[in-house]
Subunit: 141 residues, 2 copies
DNA sequence: ACTTGACCCTGTAGTTGCTACAGGGTGTGC
DNA sequence: GCACACCCTGTAGCAACTACAGGGTCAAGT
């Protein structure tokens, strides 16, 4: 099949497919006499694998590793497990960080519950001050 | 003060300060006869404001808006509040998305609790299949 | 035979918020 | 007069695409 059909089947852009090829995630396909790329079922499967990984937030360099694991079926799969654990840890860290961020934003939001001018606005004032921030550590008061 | 001192005081890189100037967040400062940038207290405050916003995950384009609000003290501050609400909503959406991601990764992780080969590894198999994924909707079975 | 339109090709620039140079000039202390 | 820290401009890199520009190919319709 040609690149357009392949892309449509997995639901991504044609450019994305070419990008994966350039990045070495997809093998260079055969070409028709016209120069058009010609893909087979195996390419479709690989591309689906890649897109699944991407939908889980896995980075391209890590997907490359997973593709390598997939190419070595007899090897012990502890590498796969370790890579997945890294993903989970990363997501957990991000959730924690985002939770903190949310709390900070919400407490900042409470600084201005009433309609007033920018001069009086507690949010803008807090963004000016933020004494708990390390960049104020050398200030007096 | 010179750019190095300014950067040190807020805890960012010299390059970051120049970058903010290029992006129009910091005004172009006076120059010494040597050509060195010469900053005052107001520049320090603005830079601190910017860094506080950045630590809250606010984008540069939105920080620009906040700086504009700050420059118009008599204006009604509803724009500030609206901008902050957007931040909170965004963070909440990201937290939800990351929570989903974490659940998917954890369920995937459970596909392989035992030491085995890549061929048998439930994780790699799931990444190949993932029937619930829209990219498989045209397949038989 | 000719044209239209959909598809394909390569290559490059843009996105975001910096970071890291390269290749030069300036200032200060010894 | 020299070393060294600091400053300057400009450009390239990161991640994972997206969006062209400027061309070639192919199939159907007239």
């Amino acid at each position: 099949m040609r690149i357009g059909e392949l892309a449509k089947r997995v639901g991504c852009d044609v450019e994305t497919v070419r990008y994966y090829e350039k990045e070495g995630l997809l093998a260079k396909p055969n070409r028709e006499s016209s120069g058009y790329r010609d893909y087979g079922a195996a390419d479709l499967e690989t591309l689906q694998f890649i897109r699944h990984c991407r939908s889980l937030g896995i980075k391209l360099t890590e997907i490359k590793q997973l593709l390598n694991f997939r190419c070595r079926p007899e090897e012990d799969c502890s590498g796969v497990n370790a890579l997945l654990d890294i993903q989970i840890t990363r997501v957990e860290e991000q959730i924690t960080a985002m939770g903190l961020l949310k709390a900070q934003l919400q407490s900042l939001r409470k600084e201005c519950e009433h309609r007033q001018t920018n001069r009086e606005c507690g949010i803008l004032q807090s963004l000016n001050q933020m004494r708990q921030c390390p960049c104020h550590r050398n200030e007096v008061g």
